[in-house]
Symmetry: C2
Subunit: 456 residues, 2 copies
């Protein structure tokens, strides 16, 4: 099947990058075009992500703007920013002309404010310019910031034949026709139909006869994550966006949602690992330090807090020195239990399946941590037996560890719930935040309770 | 806009659940149907997830199988399993008849083996039965296990008019027509076109004239995660699946990929938090214990290892007792740094952006951890100064902490890389696994290095 271009098998190689670099250096435009036109724009973006910014700019200026606009969208954000710095407002406007309104607005929003107006004024197509300007007014993380103005819209009074004729025009501008939206004469969304419905229908039928009034939609101010949840839950591939008056404003497609879900998952994962969002393995040492050091400093303060607490129990060292050997274990257990509890709650909140009353959740979490704690306490006593530790000491350590586990589970469960209730992203509660507070609390509890049992 | 059914605003309430329970108890079928038919199948599934299994079975048997088959697909896996146990093979077969082949195969695959054959033999539509049987032969986590047999296929020799006529028949079976796949007379995939292309074309044109030979596809044995990566990267909403001979076998749609991405993200997140995959906040205490306790036992063994190491340095307690106060801090730093490094590498591996040689990565990681370590060491010395700690001790603690941080970063970076090279999911390396090994290693290093500096 040599005639099928198989761009799935694309593997970025050092040879390919070098080949491109040499062609750029030689200014061998003909060969460069021949070579790159073989690849999908997403693959060319991967190549450019590896080049110096000057070389990337050279390639962008060389290739057709129909292709380069798509390449720009696929680049790493940092690299795109650098490349756009080297392009004139006119050149950026030309790229923007080729893009759908949602992507166009995203690119312009990334520019410094003074350049934004400059680029917008250079967009020749007036309708495109107005639509982009409208999209730029919506807040980040709202449906409005994600939607595109490109859609296929028909009036309820049209016939199937008339409709087919007119949507031929509209459809040319729209890459993928998921649904055709039906509006009344006031532009209010009143239904939808699919291209398939249109093809299957008789040509003299009215749109109102064949359209489906059961149409899902979201408000333009709806939170992006909620839009993603709705589209995933109802298996929607596109959803229309309306304002308070039900006027059809745009549509959001599933590929944008895939990006939202991926970013969301990566952000939560990084927060849980104690990394400020949005760094990658290949970022600079400086960027990685900025993302990691603050969390480590937080952990350090926690650790220094423990030093302080233990200094307070320094006299116990003479009588029960082994307690001090167990402090890393106590801290680890408090940390691990806290992270487990918080992760389950954070995911539950994200998936809307944290139901039932606070009281029930409290009982469940206590029950759960008591079971886990009992099993672990048994192992600690067994270990004490093996290393011939004094039994009272072993029991004191096991019992206070169990209490620490229960408290850690409660902290891990309720801190995310409280944060969520206050409108703060509960994901920041997993990871170093919970670990650090549970470490200090755990070690303090451990010494106090052991003291009560052993008697010091 | 009262005539638009707004199922987006659905909020599961206790009142609604109770209402359904009462109607079931009263066997008030008419009211129950009236009530439930107002909701989207995904919403009804949410309601059933809260009912007893007997009540759910009652509702499933009551409603139309066209609706209940979709409800079944949206239920929690555990609840679906319970409900299916209460249905006869014949009843399950009726549900399966209504489903697309991919969903049908998924449901059947969940049944115990002896029931599988029974259900399959009860499927009346022979073609549907054969297609489902074929899908059941593909391994989990391959493109074959995710694809559906439903697709719209045309031969290159057809005309646009003939094609439109014939796909009217095929399209009725296919919920969403993303692409029309063009095959030659041997059923080999040679191109694609969209419904839009077909509508825009002249009716006497040949398919071969208007089709696009640049068609992406995946092999039926391709890994599901790779399929997800390809579809996300190239913004595809559907991708055809072929065998080694390029014969068109089925297609995968983006909604299945959304599910794969979500599951993958949740699995990684849970592994990083030390939870065996696939538990939810609302699972039973026993299930949650099974998912959590093994990881805690791992952590406990790590902690007991630290006890052992510190016992070996017991005599140091007389001379430099403060070293023992710092052990939770050392363990926390080793753990946090290890988790950060591993999380970045695990995400980098998942996104294919861990490039460059091992040597460069080594240097970068050492550089990064030295910068972080220096900053933290400075804070430790400052803290020592404030609490009037002996300067040599402070320096010993700071320097050995710095070494621990470098080693922890290297372990966190290279363990996932090594696991990945051996074909093991690197995500298991984040979380308790890295934390525990770094704790032990860190505390050992800390005492040895401090000993060298202070001299004990």
């Amino acid at each position: 099947m040599e005639d099928i271009q198989d761009n799935i098998q694309f593997q970025l190689s050092n040879e390919l990058i070098e080949k491109v670099e040499i062609l750029v250096e030689d200014k061998n435009d003909k060969e460069l075009k021949l070579l790159l036109n073989e690849y999908h724009y997403a693959d060319i973006a991967e190549i450019l992500d590896e080049l110096d910014v000057e070389d990337s700019v050279y390639v962008i200026k060389l290739l057709d703007s129909g292709l380069t606009s798509d390449i720009l969208m696929e680049l790493d954000e940092d690299n795109r920013e650098d490349i756009l710095k080297h392009l004139s407002a006119k050149e950026i406007a030309e790229e923007v002309e080729e893009l759908d309104t949602d992507d166009a607005a995203d690119i312009i929003a990334e520019l410094p404010e003074n350049r934004q107006a400059e680029v917008i004024s250079q967009i020749e197509d007036e309708e495109h310019r107005d639509e982009i300007t409208e999209l730029l007014t919506y807040d980040d993380d709202t449906a409005g910031s994600l939607m595109a103005k490109e859609l296929v819209k028909v009036y309820e009074t049209w016939t199937v034949a008339g409709c087919l004729r007119r949507i031929r025009g509209q459809a040319k501008e729209v890459k993928r026709v998921h649904s055709i939206y039906v509006v009344d004469k006031k532009e209010k969304l009143i239904g939808r139909l699919s291209l398939k419905d249109l093809i299957v229908a008789k040509s003299d039928q009215k749109i109102s006869e064949i359209s489906n009034s059961n149409v899902d939609y979201v408000n333009v101010n709806e939170d992006v994550e909620d839009v993603a949840k709705i589209m995933a839950k109802y298996d929607l591939e596109a959803i229309p966006v309306v304002n308070e008056n039900q006027t059809l404003l745009g549509r959001i497609t599933i590929d944008d949602i895939v990006d939202v879900l991926k970013e969301e998952a990566e952000k939560d994962y990084q927060l849980a690992a104690g990394i400020t969002q949005d760094v990658e393995a290949d970022d600079s040492v400086w960027e990685l330090t900025k993302a990691r050091l603050p969390w480590l400093v937080l952990g350090l303060f926690g650790g220094l807090g423990s030093v302080f607490i233990m200094k307070g129990f320094e006299n116990v060292m003479q009588t029960v020195p082994s307690l001090f050997f167990y402090t890393p274990l106590i801290a680890a257990m408090a940390g691990n239990v806290g992270v487990q509890s918080s992760a389950i709650i954070v995911q539950g909140i994200a998936n809307d399946n944290v139901k039932g009353s606070i009281g029930n959740r409290l009982l469940k979490e206590i029950g759960l941590s008591l079971i886990n704690g009992l099993a672990l306490a048994f192992l600690v006593i067994l270990f004490g037996f093996i290393i011939k530790q004094d039994l009272t000491e072993s029991i004191a350590i096991a019992v206070s560890m169990m209490s620490v586990i229960v408290v850690a589970a409660l902290v891990g469960t309720f801190v995310p719930i409280i944060l969520d209730k206050r409108g703060i992203d509960p994901a920041i509660a997993t990871g170093p935040f919970i670990t650090t507070s549970n470490d200090i609390l755990g070690i303090y509890l451990f010494f106090v309770l052991s003291g009560l049992i052993i008697g010091f």
